[in-house]
Every structure is written in structure tokens, then in C-alpha cells.
């Protein structure tokens, strides 16, 4: 009998992150990152898709992920590509999802299994999905959709959760290794996500107040993409694709580099930093404001913990560190996978509700 495997999928606008949770021989929950077989990937796309599967479906060739990616910079026809994003899931919420859409979504999970997860033939996969910007009712509708498409597969969906819950779960388990002592502290967990930044206060492992929101990395990319679009690029390219190029440039950004390339627009680094400056400082300002406003309404924050794909972008991290907050700050390991790992831990605990393993 095959082992039950516990997976977490984190869907962002452009990427799908997959992580697996398992109980290690140290008797703690450990994570594996599902390796990506990005064989045909051009080198400049590595920073973006080294650890993630492109959230992409090519309607023409009927292929997913990495197989669909090469076409995206050769063909910019409308409706050629499909993303499994908020717009797609809204169809399920509004009960407008067609059978064809369901088949495409089922195909995506099959693609992930065959080319990335590669389960042994008798293994059952238990999965939790993290979606962004959906309320609990909408998440329930999406969960029903997942259950429908997985009715005869080896993949069983247990839940659809929000990034807040996923990241807190990751923090709870990772505390064993990082020695944060979360049970005796007030932590402010900041998820520098793609769609938005979440500031999640956690007081002695209890949720207090609502998370505060700030612009995500998408806003930064949008500013760069708009500027690059105005620079008069030779290629005609849609905003969706342009955003992908801007995201790639951001993920590849290193402080010393002389210029930043977005499609065929070459921005000098000082210009690039100037474009993003306002949006980056906006995130840092929101942090300052959050801490100022919460004074008196909750216990003082003892430590700030950063996760999410924004932690790989040095200007954002520097701005956060430079913010006028007198609180120690640290980044958890492999922060881009925080939500996927937290989701995987949810899959595990759904099947092992009485386990005391942490």
C-alpha cells in the first residue's frame, strides 16, 4: 500500500508553487519542494521559474506550464493563453464554469502530477490549495470545484485556504527549527506576496485583529511594465505578458547590475529604482503605520518575520529594514514557499488530526 502524501499548492497570478509535508525521522514536520523539470527554459527565465511552475495553459497546443511557456513570447494573440487565477476561479464562484474549463483545470493537476510530483502508482495525494483575494464563501465554491474535478483521481483536496492561514501554519512548524519562541511572543508575520502584502499579527499563537494590507509585488511590476511600455518597445505585447517580463526582471535583480531589461526596453538601474521607489516605500510606510496604529490596541510586537516572494527583492527588504520600527526582523528559510508549505501542513493535519507532531 502506498504512502499518503501531503501537498500544498499555492496559486499566484503567474506561478504555481508546490510543496510536500512529511514527518521526518526527527519527528517533526519537514518539507520537500517539488522539483521542477524546466528543461526547455531559456536562461533568463530561470530566476522566475527555477522553483515554480508557470501558471499557464496554451489553448492552441493544449499544453501546460513549462510546455506552454516558450509560446508566450512568440504569440501574443488574445485568448491563446489561460491562467488559473482569480478571474478563472471567479467563474466557479459565479457558477459560470464550463465543462471545458473544468477539463483544463483537471489537466493542470494531472500535468503537475505527471511531470513534477511523480507519485508512485499506488500513492494517494492529499492536497490543500492556497488562493489569494478570495473570501471564505468564495473559497468554498472553489473547493467544490476542486472536489468535482478530482472525483476519480488519486488527488484528494481537503481544503482551500487563504495565505494568512498557510503562512501562520508554516511559522508554527518552522519555529521548531528557527527557535522563534512564537508561543511566548507577539509576532508580526509579513507575507510579501505577489498580489498583495499581508501584515498578520500573531499574539502568543492567537490571531488578533484583521491582517493589514499593503501593495504586493504586482504593483511594483505594474509600475515598471507601464514605464517600459511607454518607452516605445519594438514588440507589441499585452499587459499580462509585459507584467511577466517585469516580474522576471524583479526576480533576477541584483543591486550591482547596471541595467534592467524588460522585453527589449533597457532601463538603467537608477531609473528602475526610481520607478519602484514610491511603491517600495509605500509598503514600508504601511508597516510603520500599522505598528503606530496598533499601539495600545494590541500587545507590542516583539519580532517581525518576513516571508513571500518579495523577500528575494533586495530594495523591498532594505526598505522594510530601514523603516522606523524598533523591532527585530528576520526572514524564514525558502520564504517563497511559505504559503505552499503551510498548505501542505494543512493537508497533513487534516489526515492526522490527533497527532502531536509539530
Amino acid at each position: 500500500m502506498g504512502i499518503e502524501r501531503y501537498l500544498g499548492f499555492h496559486f499566484t497570478e503567474t506561478c504555481i508553487y508546490i510543496a510536500e509535508a512529511y514527518v521526518g525521522r526527527d519527528n517533526h514536520l519537514n518539507w520537500d519542494v517539488v522539483e521542477q523539470a524546466n528543461y526547455e527554459l531559456e536562461p533568463e527565465w530561470l530566476p522566475l521559474f527555477k522553483d515554480a511552475i508557470p501558471n499557464l495553459y496554451d489553448n492552441n497546443n493544449q499544453v501546460y506550464g513549462f510546455a506552454a511557456l516558450p509560446s508566450i513570447w512568440r504569440d501574443f494573440r488574445r485568448n491563446r493563453f489561460l491562467r488559473f487565477n482569480l478571474r478563472f476561479f471567479e467563474k466557479a464562484i459565479k457558477r459560470k464554469m464550463t465543462t471545458e474549463d473544468q477539463v483544463k483545470l483537471a489537466g493542470l493537476f494531472r500535468y503537475c502530477q505527471v511531470f513534477h510530483i511523480r507519485p508512485q502508482r499506488d500513492e494517494t495525494l492529499v492536497a490543500t490549495v492556497v488562493t489569494e483575494r478570495l473570501n471564505s464563501q468564495q473559497r468554498r465554491a472553489v473547493q467544490t470545484l476542486f472536489e468535482q474535478i478530482a472525483s476519480d483521481a488519486k488527488l484528494k483536496f481537503v481544503d482551500v485556504i487563504e495565505p494568512e492561514e498557510a503562512c501562520l501554519r508554516y511559522l508554527w512548524h518552522e519555529d521548531v527549527r528557527q527557535k522563534l519562541d512564537v508561543e511566548n511572543k507577539v509576532i508580526l508575520l509579513i507575507h510579501l506576496g505577489y498580489a498583495r502584502t499581508l501584515m498578520i499579527p500573531w499574539d502568543h499563537c492567537q490571531s488578533v485583529n484583521q491582517s493589514a494590507l499593503a501593495p504586493g509585488m504586482l504593483e511594483i511590476d505594474r509600475g515598471v511594465a507601464t514605464y517600459a511600455g511607454r518607452m516605445g518597445m519594438k514588440k507589441t505585447i499585452g499587459m499580462d505578458e509585459l507584467l511577466l517580463y517585469a516580474q522576471r526582471a524583479r526576480r533576477a535583480f541584483e543591486p550591482g547590475q547596471p541595467s534592467v531589461k524588460v522585453v527589449d526596453a533597457e532601463l538603467e538601474t537608477p531609473v528602475y529604482l526610481e520607478i519602484i521607489k514610491e511603491r517600495v516605500s509605500d509598503i514600508a510606510n504601511r508597516l510603520e503605520r500599522f505598528l503606530r496604529d496598533s499601539a495600545g490596541r494590541m500587545n507590542p510586537v516583539n519580532e517581525i518575520v518576513l516571508v513571500g516572494e518579495g523577500t528575494a527583492f533586495q530594495p523591498v527588504v532594505e526598505a522594510m529594514q530601514a523603516a522606523r520600527v524598533d523591532v527585530p526582523m528576520r526572514t524564514l528559510p525558502q520564504p517563497t514557499y511559505a504559503a505552499a508549505r503551510g498548505a501542505a501542513s494543512k493537508s497533513w493535519s487534516a489526515k492526522n488530526p490527533d497527532s502531536e507532531v509539530r
Partner: protein
């Protein structure tokens, strides 16, 4: 000085791969990475990032320039087959010469050295440091001569021969699997009891089976190799050839033209194209089956027509442009593919070119007295590109009906990854271990026998000998005070084994011919790379070297000459 980069090379018959464990930044890093190999792709398009494998195909463009990889395989093997070499691993250790240009003679070692140098250059560029040490994989069924030829190739490629270690491919594959499994509290690898694992490794050019026993002790796991299969001619290429012959049949029917009637150049091109098509079709079908999640247990549903597989665009293209018509693949899978490959799935023990022959040979060697040695196996592990084909897994599962059959974490790359892990085990901070695994000294598996005039074969080196072991046997000098005493060494499982094969011919050259009946001694020692060193000494003298005599009557001096000529050729060659 402690090394910080550990390299494993899968020197495959069809494709080569490189994996590394990089500990420059983190001395405890246990992440194994597959390296991409920059190379020219089809259409002579340079790929900077490369692909994670290098096809083992070499094309000699002119006397000073050679191409290795995709371009050589996809373009030049079809257009200039006379200057292109593939599957050279099958010829390792044999006396064979490839002459792309007059006066330019390449041995299998030389051609393998070109491939190894390409891999070495790619690794050095990416890791930004010279690499002289590596673990290189060889088929478990390689004999001493083939292993030495592989070491010669590494030496020619610029590796430090003393720092190159060979590991059997199935052993490397199992290392990658076990490393992944034992991190988990619940896994297929037990820490409570020993387990017997049969590794079925089927690549493009070789089919190897090894039997490994796990031995848990104090929360650590040792691996001990119990046996390995004999050399077999059957491998993925044979499946391609049979499939190509089938496609040719369709081609000839549809075009009303016989291959034999074509001009030689065109027929050769057509055959190369068909071989490439067969390989692509095999890959496309296996990919399609996997996409449809048709696993082994679903094959019966497929047979009953409950599951259908649509034709992919590429397959339709083959059908229309090349073959005229290919039958529906859903039906084709069973009705055609399995029928085409039927001889390879014959379970008759007398048949030797089947997928079961190496399984049986390894099993009978590991459990000689068991009536059904299959009952001793706890886990079967599939590895190699051919295991992407569901039919292979299904057939192996049917042969072991009550045994768990798994795949390695990466059917294509686990061997290279396992080799890199082995490099860490041998040369890393905690020598002998990787995580919680350690490898026991591996025996040489096949005994070496000395042919004695009128006395048959006498065991010289036992098959249980491991690196570091040594011994000697006395010999009586024959009548006639010869100046030279020829010795023929054979290898095999037992002296009465019908498959015992000639390993090497050696000669003792006496400075002063000894008297008849005087005793001399023939000594041996198993080296770290599991090759065997031989010497002789008189009753009252120190060890002296033996002259090696190749089967064609050439001696060691010729071999050294060959190596130096290959080295000189390589010195003038640009490898792209």
C-alpha cells in the same frame, strides 16, 4: 584539502548527465543538483543554458573540430552518419577503431574521452572551478577490461585517474532513492528489518539488474550489494530497432517502395530517420500514457477500450508526413507495440534477450539455493528512461506479483545524482556517509580464474574480494625453460559457468629462464575502483610487473601507444 564540490557523471550509452553537490557555501549541504549542459541543438542553434542531458553522440566536422550532443544526434547522424558515432559505451574495452578521416583513428576510450571532456568543461564553467575528481557510473555488468577502459577515457579527458571512482549504475540509482526515502518517518525503506531490493535499470544501451540488501543498525542504514546481472545485449535501442522495422514496414506498404531499392545514401538516411522516429514515438507514447495517468493497473482498462488516448499533434504529423498512416495509438499501444516487442517479454528461462534474463541471473546468484528466489525480494526499483514506458513496469510487476514495484525519484537523472551522493560519501566531511546512509565495501562479484593447462580453470580472485583484498597462488614453471609464460585470465560467477569469458591475457617475461618445476607466484590486489592489479614474483624475490597481452596478440606497450596517440589527437581537437 577537503573538497567542496562533488560531481557524479552518468556516462550513458544514449545520454549523459551530470549532478553535483555543492558545499562551497554550506558544508552540510545535501542538495543534489542536475547540471545543464550547453550544447548545439538541432539546426546548429547554440543553447547557452543547455539541456540537462548530453546525447552520447559525437560528430567529427573536420580534423580539428567535433560536436557532441543534440546537433550530432539529430542532424549529423542523419546527414553524415559516416562521421558520427553513437552508443560507444557498448564497445568499451573492445579493440575497435573509428576513422572519420584518413589517418585519424579513434578508439572507444578516445571517443568516450571527448564526451567526458565536454561534460567536464560544462561542469567547470558552471561551478567556476577546475574539476579533476568525479564518480563515473558504469553498467553493473561491465567487466574489468571495460572498467579500465572507462578509467582510461576519464584520464584522457583530463580527470586525475587516481581521483576517479567508478560506481555501478543500479547502485547509484538506489542511493538516490534511499536518500530521499529515509528522511521520512514513514517510508518504503525499513529501519526495523533488512530488506532486499532488486534494481531494474533499463536505459538506452544497457539493461542491468542489481540486488541490494539494506542493513539497518543504530538508526543508520548500510547498503550491501548481493549480486548483479550478467552482461546483456538487450536495451532500449533494441526496442527502437524493432519499432523502426515496424514503421519501415508501414512506410514501404504506403509508399510502394522498398528500402532496398533506394540509393544507399537515401536508404541510410531513411533508416536513420526511422530510428529517430521510433525513439520519438516511444517517448511520445509513454508521455501520452503518463499524461493520461494510465498507470500499470490501468492497462487492462485500456485493453478493454475503457480508456482511450488521443493522438497528439506530433504523432499525427508523423502519420501524415512521414508514414502515411499510423494506427490509432490507443489501440496501437497493445495491439502493436506489445506485439512488436513480444520477444523481449518472453518468460521462457532459456531465452537470453528478454527483460527477465538479467533478473533471473541476478536472483539465482544472490539466492542460489532458493526454489523461487523472487520470494526473497521486498522491493523492486525501476530506473532508466525505458521505464517511462508503462509496459515495462507492468511486465516487471507481473513477474513480481506480490512485491512493491517503485520508481527512482528521477528515472532519467537518479544515476548521476546517486554518483554525486557517492562522491560525498567517499570524499565528504563525514567519510562513508551521506545523511544516515553508509555504503559497505562492495565485492567484485565475479571471480577471476586462471586457465591451467590440462587442469581447466583455477580460481585466482574470489568473487567476494573487496577493495584492499589481495592474495597469490603458486605456479610451477613448465618444461623447456621458457623465456615467457603466457597466462589467460577469465571472469565469471563459477568455474563451471558456461558464460565465463576471457578477461585478459598476461605474460610473465623472465630475465633469466627458471628451471623446470621451480615455483613462482602470481599475485593480485583489488584496488579502490574495484579493478584488479596483478604481479608475479619468484620464490625468493620481490614483486615484478606482468606484461599485458591483448587478445590480438598485442601487448601493453601497444595499449600505452594507443592511449598516447588518443591523447595527442584530443590535444588538437576543439570540442563543441
Amino acid at each position: 584539502m577537503m573538497r567542496s564540490v562533488f560531481v557524479g557523471i552518468d556516462l550513458g550509452t544514449t545520454n549523459c548527465k551530470v549532478a553535483v553537490v555543492n558545499r562551497r557555501e554550506d558544508p552540510n549541504n545535501e542538495t543534489v543538483e542536475n547540471l545543464n549542459i550547453p550544447q548545439f541543438l538541432s539546426g546548429r542553434e547554440w543553447s547557452v543554458r543547455g539541456v540537462p542531458y548530453l546525447p552520447s553522440v559525437v560528430y567529427f566536422d573536420d580534423q580539428a573540430e567535433t560536436y557532441v550532443g543534440q546537433y550530432a544526434k539529430q542532424d549529423m547522424f542523419v546527414r553524415r552518419p559516416e562521421r558520427t558515432v553513437r552508443s560507444i559505451k557498448r564497445l568499451m574495452g573492445r579493440t575497435w577503431t573509428f576513422t572519420p578521416f584518413e589517418g585519424m583513428n579513434w578508439s572507444p576510450q578516445g571517443i568516450s574521452a571527448i564526451i567526458l571532456r565536454k561534460l567536464k568543461d560544462a561542469a567547470e564553467k558552471q561551478l567556476q572551478q577546475p574539476i579533476e575528481a568525479s564518480v563515473i557510473t558504469v553498467p553493473a555488468s561491465f567487466d574489468g577490461r571495460q572498467r579500465e577502459a572507462t578509467l582510461d577515457a576519464a584520464d584522457l579527458a583530463g580527470f586525475d585517474r587516481d581521483q576517479v571512482i567508478l560506481i555501478d549504475e543500479p547502485t547509484a540509482a538506489i542511493l538516490d532513492y534511499v536518500v530521499k526515502q529515509i528522511k521520512r518517518r514513514v517510508s518504503y525503506i525499513s529501519f526495523e528489518r533488512p530488506q532486499v531490493i532488486l534494481v531494474f535499470d533499463m536505459g538506452g544501451g544497457t539493461l542491468d539488474v542489481s540486488i541490494v540488501q539494506t542493513e539497518p543498525q543504530d538508526n543508520e542504514l548500510s547498503l550491501r550489494i548481493l549480486s548483479r546481472s550478467r552482461y546483456t545485449e538487450l536495451a532500449g535501442n533494441d526496442f527502437d530497432i524493432r519499432l523502426a522495422a515496424y514503421l519501415l514496414n508501414i512506410f514501404e506498404q504506403n509508399n510502394e517502395q522498398q528500402l532496398a531499392d533506394m540509393p544507399i545514401r537515401r536508404s541510410r538516411e531513411a533508416m536513420s530517420t526511422l530510428l529517430g522516429l521510433a525513439e520519438d514515438l516511444k517517448v511520445a507514447v509513454s508521455k501520452r500514457l503518463r499524461e493520461s495517468m494510465v498507470y500499470w493497473e490501468d492497462l487492462s482498462r485500456l485493453e478493454k477500450g475503457e480508456v482511450r488516448i488521443s493522438q497528439s499533434a506530433r504523432e499525427i504529423q508523423y502519420g501524415e508526413e512521414v508514414l502515411g498512416q499510423v494506427p490509432d495509438l490507443a489501440m496501437g499501444y497493445n495491439a502493436h507495440f506489445e506485439r512488436i516487442w513480444m520477444p523481449f517479454f518472453n518468460s521462457d528461462p532459456e531465452q537470453v534477450t528478454t527483460i527477465y534474463a538479467p533478473i533471473n541471473s541476478a536472483l539465482s546468484e544472490a539466492f542460489p539455493d532458493a526454489p523461487d528466489p523472487r520470494q526473497h525480494v521486498d522491493l523492486v526499483l525501476l530506473h532508466g528512461g525505458m521505464c517511462e514506458l508503462a509496459v515495462i513496469g507492468a511486465k516487471v510487476q507481473a513477474y513480481f506479483p506480490n512485491v512493491r514495484v517503485d520508481e527512482t525519484p528521477d528515472l532519467m537523472n537518479s544515476v548521476a545524482r546517486g554518483a554525486a551522493i557517492y562522491d560525498v560519501m567517499l570524499n565528504g566531511k563525514h567519510a562513508g556517509t551521506f545523511g544516515d546512509i553508509q555504503m559497505r565495501e562492495q565485492p567484485i562479484f565475479e571471480a577471476v580464474f586462471l586457465e591451467r593447462y590440462r587442469h581447466g580453470l583455477q580460481e585466482l580472485v574470489p568473487k567476494t574480494a573487496a577493495p584492499g583484498d589481495e592474495g597469490e597462488i603458486p605456479l610451477k614453471v613448465p618444461a623447456g625453460r621458457p623465456s615467457r609464460l603466457p597466462l589467460s585470465l577469465y571472469h565469471g560467477f563459477r568455474s563451471d559457468d558456461p558464460f565465463v569469458t576471457l578477461d585478459r591475457e598476461l605474460a610473465i617475461a623472465f630475465d633469466l629462464p627458471p628451471k623446470e618445476g621451480e615455483s613462482i607466484y602470481l599475485g593480485w590486489r583489488v584496488l579502490e575502483d574495484r579493478t584488479i592489479e596483478y604481479w608475479w614474483h619468484p620464490e625468493d624475490g620481490g614483486p615484478r610487473p606482468l606484461r599485458r597481452v591483448a587478445s590480438q596478440g598485442r601487448d601493453l606497450a601497444d595499449d600505452i601507444q594507443d592511449l598516447s596517440s588518443q591523447r595527442e589527437l584530443l590535444g588538437h581537437l576543439t570540442i563543441r
